[in-house]
Subunit: 194 residues, 2 copies
Amino acid sequence: MEAEKLALWRAPLARALHLNRSLPQSRYFQLATIRQNGYPANRTVVYRGFRDQTNQIQMISDLRSEKIQQINNSPLAEICWYFSQTREQFRFTGTLTLISADSNLQSIRLQIWQQLSNAARLQFAWPEPKQPRIEAKEAFLPPTPSVNEPLPNFGLLLFDSIEVDHLELRGEPQNRSHYQLDQQHEWSVKSINP
Amino acid sequence: MEAEKLALWRAPLARALHLNRSLPQSRYFQLATIRQNGYPANRTVVYRGFRDQTNQIQMISDLRSEKIQQINNSPLAEICWYFSQTREQFRFTGTLTLISADSNLQSIRLQIWQQLSNAARLQFAWPEPKQPRIEAKEAFLPPTPSVNEPLPNFGLLLFDSIEVDHLELRGEPQNRSHYQLDQQHEWSVKSINP
């Protein structure tokens, strides 16, 4: 694969991640998708880094969760990432691609699975999400899944941006930059009113 | 107006707001709406309390911002509210109603305007958001708006929930409650798998 050029917005995002590194929640963001009934859906998701040599943001998901049906129906999504220490927000407009057990890119799916904590891997062996609560505690204490073989319901999500809106509330008065991907897959940026 | 009964999810939300009160960002949440091109939109918004005697969540918006066009096109929305101190998340599915200068409820619109800081009111007199950046600093130093008369582009947003999903990551293993509004406008709750 040819390496993708680092997008223009990668430097300010890396800076925000660095300056907010003392807060664990700086590695969480909110992912909006579209429900099958037309309502938007919005939930907190853990940032799992960028796919090597690309500008794709990585996340994970249980294939049994509602967001998978939503993504199969429409891949359109927006990420809102607020950094409270530096008081800045990034909004990424784009599309999601699901990497499941029968997709290409199994080596990345395996790599992300291996990087998870034991506790995070264990959640993929829990009972089905959003079903009536199973009260037996043993249901949530399944055998430890293998580190070397992702469970079949483990999905990797790759997010491709087409627009990025960066707002810095601490500016004088505030700074806002708008990044856009053109037909030639080149990023451009302009300064806009906050 | 007849007072609305306090929704079942108000107590756990009030508790979260209380326990996370030391963090200013606990009063921010992420609001997802639908763009006219079908993409979801997602941004951080400041919580402005509940409308008296109701379960409506209040927010404010500049009428010149894109979210207003989105809401006029589709009022469907979802709020994702993550509390990092207690590690819990509320997701509110519902609809938005815009209160502008020619709507009913002017007394509430005025009241929220009056409760804003001077700095917050001043932003409604700034140049048009998202237009090419005006470099002259004076453009962002307009005359102070009157406390007693909201600027015409000041909008109040009221959010009505139909479903609320409450996830507590600190549970053993985790706790998740699903609240639903029925045809009789009564809330019910059930415990579901995380």
